[in-house]
């Protein structure tokens, strides 16, 4: 630290009377100077802080938010979710007609917006098979209600005209060049058909840029209309469309009807399986701890969180393996780094500087270069195996499997992270006076006692700093395990990358990432407490 402290300088600059040179009280003047100094420092830091916030902290924060976010279910199936609230999974029965009616309406919109496959894959993480269920239903859902559409058009051909529907539902005084708008009153008259039609109008307008005045409504709107007319409520006042309502209501009583649950069961038996509905109900809330439970091998059930079946438990094992391998790497780094750092710290400066290059060169060499070197060296037909066969230690048909397993990852990563251990150790050992060891020996200590009781305790801070740094870096490694780790030597990072780019289960990836980040931050905090972030050294 610099011995020049500006605080002292202010004092010396303004010593003398209790008034500063400009006649203000010294105390106020000092405070002002201090405040200005703080502001100037902050102004210099601010651009970078803002930059880091926007390019780094906020993106990570948003990513973390994804681990609890679950809006897709309630976004895609809003009315179904609402209708499901009254359903009790304990009965072991599929939900009633109301839920299936809501599902028809929601699914129709979702299919047009192509959201149903996304919802399907989201729910598939929780129950296998839902993805194909939604895809299959997406192809057939527009047939539901066709029987009503046919009967309405048979009754009165006007029902098949887009214009007639638009007049019935649309606001007054709409000109063709104005965008279509619903009349507010029809929502009272047609409690079901109006929202269904509104959804239809909004969807085709936003998805295909179509005008509802030119398109015949979906079959699901006819279904909704039938439901309205069947009940034929009596109104005291006369809102819009009441005459249509009273005209057709008596005529629908002898319509051929359908059973919605049966229709869905026809598409796929799974729709009458209470387990499917239970999954939808469980994951209906906008926020969920489901991803986190998933990432520690538990799952949500109606009775609370439970362990997943034994054969599906992978993440805790993976976390455990990541920790163990990081510890193994840290351990081997200490074993290999300590003697080297000791040698460097005790050699004459000139020799030490030359040897230091051997430590710094790997540090400066591209990670990809070092990883490819290990990939080349460790292969079954690689240099190390060739050498061992050549010397005769290993038989040619029994070459060592050094790559695509945990061994490969540990060897390669020890090599890659070793400089991060040697450099902090070296800088700590440089500060230990060699006279201490000599003094201990001259007082009668053996070499071992002198080292273990005198030197080693003083080098512990270096071991701590190096170990935490190596451990932090190791636990989040991705590239090297991906290339030399195969399936047995991968870390949790590789699983996160897999969920981001292959399985597209982003929520689970975010939850796993949050846990990993939390782990790393704990160690970062420890590092800050023990070593201090300011003392991170790069390259000696």
């Amino acid at each position: 630290m610099s011995p020049c402290n500006t605080g002292d300088n202010i004092m010396t600059d303004a010593t003398g009377p209790m008034m500063a040179a400009d006649g203000r009280p010294l105390k106020a003047s000092l405070n002002r100077a201090l405040r200005r100094q703080k502001l100037r420092a902050l102004a210099l830091i601010a651009p970078l802080l803002v930059f880091i916030m926007f390019t780094f902290i906020i993106p990570i924060g948003q990513m973390l938010f994804r681990s609890v976010e679950n809006q897709i279910v309630s976004d895609v199936l809003p009315t179904t979710v609402a209708a499901l609230e009254n359903w009790d999974a304990e009965t072991g029965q599929a939900p009633d007609e109301d839920v299936f009616y809501a599902l028809t309406q929601d699914l129709m919109v979702a299919v047009e917006k192509k959201q149903h496959t996304r919802l399907g894959s989201r729910l598939n993480y929780e129950m296998t098979g839902i993805s194909s269920l939604f895809r299959k239903s997406g192809r057939s859902v527009d047939d539901i209600g066709e029987v009503y559409a046919d009967q309405f058009i048979d009754l009165d051909p006007r029902w098949g005209e887009a214009e007639f529907w638009a007049d019935l539902m649309g606001a007054e005084g709409l000109t063709p060049d104005m965008p279509f708008e619903m009349h507010p009153d029809v929502f009272t008259t047609f409690a079901r058909a109006a929202p269904a039609y509104a959804a239809f109008a909004a969807t085709i307008a936003s998805e295909d840029g179509d005008d509802p005045r030119e398109e015949e409504p979906w079959n699901s709107v006819y279904l909704a209309l039938y439901e309205d007319l069947k009940e034929a409520p009596k109104f005291t006042n006369a809102p819009k469309g009441i005459e249509i309502m009273s005209e057709f209501a008596p005529q629908v009583v002898d319509f051929e009807t359908i059973d919605l649950a049966a229709e869905f069961a026809d598409i796929d038996e799974d729709w009458v399986d209470p387990a499917v509905w239970q999954t939808i109900q469980t994951y209906a809330p906008e926020f969920t701890n489901g991803y986190f439970l998933n990432s520690i091998d538990r799952q949500k059930t109606p009775d609370g969180a439970e362990w997943r079946p034994e054969d599906e438990q992978i993440y805790l094992k993976l976390f455990w393996r990541t920790m163990l391998m990081s510890l193994a790497i840290t351990g081997s780094c200490i074993l290999l780094g300590y003697p080297v750092a000791w040698l460097l710290a005790n050699l004459p400066m000139r020799t030490a500087n030359v040897l230091m290059i051997l430590v710094l060169l790997p540090f400066w060499t591209s990670l990809l270069v070092r990883t490819s070197a290990w990939k080349v060296l460790l292969q079954q037909q690689g240099v190390i195996n060739d050498l061992l066969v050549w010397i005769g230690i290993v038989a040619d048909d029994n070459r060592l499997a050094l790559i695509n397993n945990a061994t490969g990852t540990v060897i390669a990563m020890t090599h890659i992270l070793l400089p991060f251990m040697i450099l902090p150790l070296y800088s700590v050992m440089k500060t230990i006076p060699p006279a201490y060891l000599r003094a201990a020996k001259s007082l009668g200590a053996t070499n071992w006692t002198a080292f273990w009781r005198v030197y080693f305790p003083q080098s512990v801070p270096g071991i701590g700093a190096g170990s935490i740094l190596v451990f932090i870096l190791a636990i989040g490694y991705y590239i090297t395990p991906e290339i030399v780790g195969g399936t047995k030597g991968v870390f949790i990072s590789n699983r996160i990358a897999y969920h981001i780019s292959s399985s597209l289960n982003w929520g689970l990836a975010a939850a796993l990432g949050t846990i990993l980040l939390a782990l790393v931050l704990v160690f970062y905090w420890l590092y800050d407490r023990i070593v201090g972030i300011d003392n991170v050294k790069l390259g000696g």
Partner: protein
């Protein structure tokens, strides 16, 4: 000096040629003999016996009749000739190495140099431990450097193999070729990523160096509120696992890219570069902060006050007084930021599109999917680049230390 002398005296006093030097050199010879016998296909036993005998003979002849320098060259040449008879050029090289090791070993043991590092009163066990320790350290240095060095000869392989072919081991010219380098310099699959890397890294470096240096100067003032927290935030890109940064940036930057294309009307390719550059700049910042802060610790603030005293305004003071003094730190910070961006693959993999494919990305795909020997040529080039960078940084560090030595810190 005294130690070396005494050690030599001790060795001279009891001429331990028969009891010490010859058996141990013979042991080394036996080990080398086993290896050589195995390699030449003579069998372990033959190699062992031959090595034992040769080690003993070498030790006796060299220590008794030849001065050190001549003796060592004689051993090297003798063994090289022997190797050449058995295995031509490759054999000669191996022989020369064996000769050098045995010759050095014989003199090292006989002259008592092996005790040079320990006090004269050290017991045999202590001497043994001391030398084993040096050997262990040697192996660790070998472990550190060998993987990097070994890919250099491998990259000149004439075959598409990743190991030394018999032609290469025999040092025959047809075993080597520069065809992987030709592939690198003619293949668009490699040249385009190279160009992308050379576009992205400098821009990212400029951003991180500018903002990082300013902030480091701010942080090194004596009164900074929340200094610890700010520092923790600014260093965090180095600590947070890359995969997490990459994931976060993946979501955020794809939205930002859409916004840039739709609202600002920037072309898709340009917005792709901007995204990667911003991401890499963020990753490089901790390195700039750390190196520049370290330089500023030794900066004498009375120099800026002196400048101000003589009438320089803060901007002049910064550029004329402070900047030249901290420049070595700033440049090494910049080199760190450059190598971070130039070497980065996880973030660009997630944030970039195929048009922004960088060199490490191409290497990564190459290693994962169709491993092609051109990777070794690229790796060799990158090793040379890193040697150059390392040299620059070392020189700058020394210069910085000299500069700091001049001004009372």
């Amino acid at each position: 000096m005294t130690v070396a002398l005494t050690a030599a005296e001790v060795a001279a006093k009891k001429d331990n040629l028969w009891g010490f030097t010859i058996p141990i050199t013979a042991l080394f010879g036996a080990i080398l003999g086993i290896l050589a016998g195995q390699a030449a296909g003579l069998g372990i036993l033959t190699g062992l016996v031959a090595g034992l005998v040769m080690g003993a003979v070498i030790a006796f002849v060299l220590c008794r009749f030849l001065p050190r320098r001549t003796g060592r060259w004689a051993a090297i040449i003798g063994f090289a000739v022997l190797g050449f008879i058995f295995g031509q050029l490759g054999g000669a090289l191996a022989g020369a190495i064996c000769g050098a090791v045995l010759g050095w070993c014989a003199y090292w043991l006989h002259s008592g140099d092996y005790r040079a590092g320990v006090p004269p009163y050290a017991t045999t066990r202590q001497v043994l431990w001391h030398n084993s320790f040096l050997f262990i350290c040697g192996f660790i240095f070998f472990f550190l450097i060998a993987p990097i060095i070994i890919i250099i000869p491998l990259s000149f392989n004439a075959q598409d193999f990743f190991t030394f072919t018999p032609e290469m081991l025999a040092l025959k010219a047809e075993g080597f070729s520069t065809k992987h380098y030709e592939d690198f310099f003619t293949n668009q699959d490699w040249l385009r990523p190279m160009r992308n890397s050379l576009i992205i890294a400098p821009f990212a470096t400029v951003i991180s160096v500018t903002l990082g240096t300013l902030a480091a100067i701010g942080l090194s003032q004596s009164h900074v509120p929340f200094r610890q927290t700010i520092m923790a935030i600014l260093i965090s890109p180095m600590i947070v696992p890359l995969i997490i940064s990459a994931t976060g940036m993946f979501f955020f930057y794809s939205k930002m890219g859409l916004w840039m294309e739709d609202t600002l009307g920037i072309s898709k390719s340009l917005s792709g570069y901007i995204k990667v550059i911003l991401a890499h700049a963020a990753l490089g910042i901790p390195f700039v902060i750390i190196t520049v802060t370290a330089t500023l610790v030794g900066f004498d603030k009375s120099l800026t006050r002196a400048a101000a005293n003589m009438g320089a305004n803060p901007v002049t003071t910064f550029f004329k007084v402070q900047m030249p003094l901290i420049l070595p730190g700033v440049i090494s910070g910049g080199l760190f930021a450059f190598i971070t961006s130039f070497d980065e693959v996880v973030v660009v993999l997630f944030v970039g599109a195929a048009a922004q494919k960088t060199l490490p990305w191409q290497m990564f795909t190459g290693l994962r999917e169709q491993i092609s020997p051109t990777i070794l040529a690229v790796a060799t080039i990158l090793v040379i680049v890193s040697i150059l960078l390392l040299t620059t940084v070392e020189l700058l560090r020394r210069r910085s230390e000299r500069l700091r030595g001049m001004s009372p810190g």
